[in-house]
């Protein structure tokens, strides 16, 4: 585990060079992203362990989503190296599935639930291959796993927020990937959807796949995840939840803005 104080030049444990991480699902070194003058993410190192479930946490504007998007090449990075299973992103795309923030798309778009899930098969289908019964069946199976099969023919705008989130997850399942990257999958969803999503994610983990999610709710970090990546522009802490999810690191990441009673509720270790 390497530590770095936010905005400071505190003690640094040098990150292992990329060459030694060839088997890791995701390795990031020196990632810097900037919107305009101010860096959103600065010199970030991140190593995701195989088969882990990692929560990326940090205060609003800490660069959590930006980190995910920069890793995936959705926003340009100023500097930094990203490898996915030891290879550059462009050569590992078939091993990655992505669930964007629900609010990032226009749900009034004229398309049905089943069509959105079929988008997960786009790499396989290429430009002109027609969707056949087999593809359709796979899409239905993915909808089954998130409990949305009955909604296959609905226009996506007719769904509740939680249902939309489940459709996005089904699309990611259709990608058949080894590494799942999710941006705030639990934001604004109902309790039943939250349960359904975490069940699917835990099944993915049980199958040996790797899950990384930008996460907002500190109270569920312990229940849902086994690793945590705490950032506030810089990396604050990284490692197994028991070691990295501590009051000291939280205070450091959130700048002392967390109320003491919340700290108690989180039952933090590491004192």
């Amino acid at each position: 585990m390497s530590l770095r104080m936010p905005f400071g030049r505190g003690e640094e444990v040098a990150a292992a060079p990329l060459a030694e991480l060839s088997d890791k699902p995701l390795a990031v070194r020196g990632l810097t992203v900037s919107y305009g003058q101010k860096p959103a993410v600065f010199s970030l190192d991140m190593t995701i362990e195989d088969g882990s479930m990692t929560a990326i946490i940090g205060p609003n504007g800490a660069g959590k989503s930006t980190t995910l998007k920069a890793v995936l090449g959705i926003v340009p990075r100023l500097s930094g190296v990203v490898t996915v299973y030891g290879r550059p992103l462009a050569k590992s795309r078939r091993r990655i599935a992505y669930v964007p923030q629900r609010a990032s798309v226009d749900w009034d778009f004229p398309t049905r639930v089943i069509d959105v899930v079929l988008m997960g098969l786009a790499r396989e289908l290429g430009l002109l291959r027609r969707v056949n019964a087999g593809h359709r069946q796979r899409a239905f199976d993915c909808l089954d796993r998130v409990g949305m099969r009955d909604f296959a023919d609905r226009q996506i705008g007719q769904l509740s927020g939680g249902q939309q989130q489940r459709v996005f997850l089904a699309r990611a399942l259709a990608q058949g990937a080894d590494l799942y990257l999710l941006d705030e999958p639990f934001a604004g969803v109902d309790a039943a959807t939250e349960r359904a999503i975490i069940d699917v994610l835990k099944t993915l983990k049980a199958e040996g796949r790797t899950v990384v999610a930008v996460h907002h709710d500190l109270s569920t970090v312990r229940d849902y995840f086994d690793h945590v990546m705490m950032i506030n522009v810089h990396k604050v802490a990284e490692g197994p939840v028991a070691e990295a999810f501590t009051e000291e690191h939280l205070q450091s990441a959130y700048g002392g803005r967390l109320a003491a009673n919340l700290m108690d509720q989180l039952q933090l270790g590491g004192h």
Partner: protein, 308 residues
């Protein structure tokens, strides 16, 4: 009415239909991407391109004018991007600055250049000249099989036919990237799609359609062809596949009904002269949209807008 219709009306109607379809196809994606304004921008900036193309080639109906217009569209897209980056202003403002100033430049150029000897005047450029595209050699429906008569077809017809076919091929071949990147650009990138390239190609395609439709409906009214049929079609269905088919149907309907109404409507009403076909086509497409907005089955937005 056979022989007269073939000679006077068949070709203009066909050109109007093909122009409307060529614009409606990319228009579907522009409207869904909330880039309808870029169609407007393109339809304006092609004017200086067309004038420059004409000045360099010396003829009206040549590919040089199309090349000039396409070039102007590319310049405009780059200029908009440049203004946006350097000026750090929102895209709408950058577009507004780029297309009005380029259009104004085109008007000045047109006015100052010696175009009086040919049929390229400001009015033609702005409102189109559909009615003049008659088939002089036609002697009736039989002329459609007569090679000599076919050789006398206005060159605008094969040109817009090729462009409409190009739009169709573009839409079919790149259907999947266009749809996915329009719905969810981030996801499209993760799939490895070059979304910038797709967006740029769409704008270029729209520019080509705008230029080709220039003869038919002029540079200003062409915007109606980009927006009205797709916007009306969106209200008819909740599936993109069906929306595009509806937009094509609405485009054809607007062109045919608009042309006929312009040519014969005033006479039926007792007036002496026909009215501008391009103006009537745009008006009909606007009426179609208005009726769709009032009575179409999916006129209620079913979801909240994405950006909050």
């Amino acid at each position: 009415m056979g022989a007269e219709f073939v000679m006077l009306s068949l070709v203009p109607i066909l050109i109007g239909v093909l122009a409307a379809v060529a614009c409606a196809l990319p228009g579907n994606f522009l409207v869904l991407r909330r880039q309808a304004l870029i169609g407007d921008a393109i339809s304006h900036v092609v004017l200086p391109g067309i004038v420059v193309g004409f000045l360099l080639s010396g003829t009206v109906s040549s590919w040089a004018m199309m090349a000039g217009a396409a070039g102007a569209a590319v310049v405009a897209v780059l200029l908009i991007e440049l203004i946006r980056r350097l000026g750090r202003i929102e895209p709408g403002a950058a577009m507004g600055v780029a297309f009005t100033s380029m259009f104004a430049f085109g008007v000045l150029l047109l006015e100052q250049s010696d175009t009086s000897s040919v049929h390229l005047d400001v009015q033609h450029a702005l409102y189109g000249n559909l009615e003049s595209l008659i088939w002089v050699e036609a002697r009736g429906w039989g002329s459609l099989l007569d090679p000599v008569a076919l050789a006398g077809l206005p060159p605008e017809l094969p040109r817009i036919a090729i462009v409409a076919a190009l739009m169709l091929v573009f839409t079919v071949v790149f259907w999947r990237p266009l749809k996915i990147s329009t719905f969810d650009e981030g996801f499209a990138r993760v799939l490895g799609m070059r979304t910038n390239l797709i967006g740029f190609a769409l704008v270029i395609m729209a520019a080509v359609a705008a230029v080709a439709a220039f003869d038919a409906v002029g540079s200003i009214i062409v915007i109606a062809m980009f927006i009205c049929p797709p916007a009306a079609a969106r209200l008819m269905t909740n599936r993109l596949e069906h929306q595009v088919l509806w937009s094509v149907a609405f485009a054809i309907f607007s062109a045919v009904v608009g042309y006929v109404a312009a040519g014969y409507g005033p006479l039926w009403l007792g007036a002496d002269d026909a009215v501008s076909a391009a103006g009537m086509i745009a008006t009909v497409s606007g009426l179609v949209l208005a009726i769709a907005a009032l009575y179409a089955p999916h006129r209620h937005r079913s979801g909240a807008p994405a950006d909050g």
